[in-house]
């Protein structure tokens, strides 16, 4: 059975799931960042920022554990950063989903290829 794109029905099913995952990931990430951003504006909106000098970010905003503990403490900047981490995690989740889909199709070469990409992304997100 084939479809409008000519792809096998099993692949089309995976494409629908991948599309949904990407859409949900972006929406959730944007919603979290928006909530954090509104809280940030109400707390710090009247401060005068200076982005012309690079100082980096405190540990709370530059590590996964810092962002999570900051969010639990309801720190607005950490909630924005959680939204950004969720956004970065969306393509990572997409690679994981395609890996599983290739495994179901017993397409081991592409399971290996997806695993390499997933390993590189995980390394970047966790170790940096």
């Amino acid at each position: 059975m084939t479809t409008a794109s000519g792809h096998p029905a099993s692949e089309e099913h995976v494409e629908q799931m991948v599309g949904n995952l990407l859409r949900i990931g972006v929406l959730v990430a944007a919603a979290v960042a928006l909530v954090g951003g509104i809280a940030f504006m109400t707390h710090h909106g009247s401060l005068v920022p200076d982005h012309s000098v690079f100082r980096g970010q405190p540990a709370m905003l530059s590590s996964l554990s810092g962002v999570i503990s900051g969010t639990l403490a309801l720190e607005p900047a950490a909630i924005v950063q959680l939204g950004i981490v969720l956004l970065i995690a969306t393509p990572v989740a997409r690679v994981l989903l395609t890996l599983v889909a290739f495994a179901v199709q017993r397409d081991w070469m592409y399971v290996l290829i997806s695993a390499i990409v997933l390993a590189l992304l995980t390394y970047s997100l966790i170790v940096g």
Binding site: G6, H7, E15, P49, H51, S63, Y110
Partner: protein, 278 residues
């Protein structure tokens, strides 16, 4: 100017960038860094961090629709993502070693190349011929929907495409852009994929490529939430609005306007990089 006023202005600028990028099909990511550094006087490292985040948002949003319609070649995307993620990590690593001046100069040159690329005519490839050995082994040949039903196509020059993708990854990681122009170049020119498949598969890969370097930048403290938040939401809203308004716009004139903006920003980036005013 306080945080609220600045955020509203940055949101507006990012909205315009997302709108133009979506209407012209060139992506707004490439003008976010010049916009933040030249207009808002933001340090280029913060600008790159915010730009990367916006690139992930728009590419994932757009890719969701294209992959469902069956234009995206998931196998080609997955294979080439090995090259772009290694490249992105290389680029992010190199970005920590070179001075912002060097990054500004490279950025200016990439902007010029992108503007030049948009003015070129594209040639649709003719299908047929002997199947490529590597592409057959990797089962890359596929089909895509057209008005006359599914159209089959063959993939060629896989190693060359893979090599160009590594360069695209480096540029993405170094400059905080999606480098869609280079990705399309690799798939359209080198690998002979149909243009629509090239652009949608490029979009599909941009999120993964940008995520690879965004992790590194997050740990390095380049991602400022107060800056990334208005940029990400602005570009996302602009891109969504652009996708809806697309049928009502004459794209050739818009492409010319966009290319002109890109050229002006290119010279400004080059000038600031050379004089050290960055």
């Amino acid at each position: 100017m306080n945080v609220l006023e600045l955020s509203v202005l940055i949101f507006g600028g990012a909205l315009a960038a997302g709108l133009l990028g979506s209407l012209t099909g060139l992506g707004g990511g490439i003008i976010i860094v010049p916009l933040l550094t030249l207009v808002f006087k933001v340090d280029i490292r913060y600008a790159i961090g915010a730009s990367l985040v916006s690139v992930i948002a728009t590419s994932s949003g757009a890719a969701a629709a294209y992959v469902k319609e069956g234009f995206t070649n998931v196998r080609v995307g997955m294979l080439l993502e090995v090259a772009t993620t290694v490249g992105a990590l290389t680029g992010a690593f190199v970005a920590g070693l070179v001075s912002p001046r060097v990054i500004a100069i490279i950025f200016g040159l990439v902007l010029l190349q992108s503007a030049w690329q948009t003015t070129r005519q594209r040639v649709e490839h003719v299908a047929g011929g002997v199947p490529d050995r590597v592409a057959t082994w990797l089962r890359l040949d596929s089909s895509y929907p057209t008005s006359d039903g599914p159209q089959h196509y063959q993939v060629r020059h896989v190693p060359l495409g893979f090599g160009i993708m590594y360069v695209a990854g480096i540029l993405s990681g170094l400059l905080g852009i999606g480098s869609g122009v280079v990705k399309v170049l690799a798939m359209d020119r080198a690998m002979r994929l149909p243009f629509k498949v090239s652009t949608t598969t490029s979009n599909f890969m941009i999120g993964v490529t940008a995520a690879a370097s965004a992790g590194v930048y997050l740990h390095r403290g380049y991602i400022d939430p107060g800056l990334a938040f208005p940029v990400m939401l602005g570009v996302l809203c602009g891109a969504l609005g652009g996708a809806r308004a697309l049928p009502n716009f004459k794209t050739p004139r818009l492409r010319l306007i966009f290319a002109t903006v890109v050229v002006v920003m290119a010279f400004e980036m080059l000038y600031n990089g050379i004089t050290g005013n960055i």
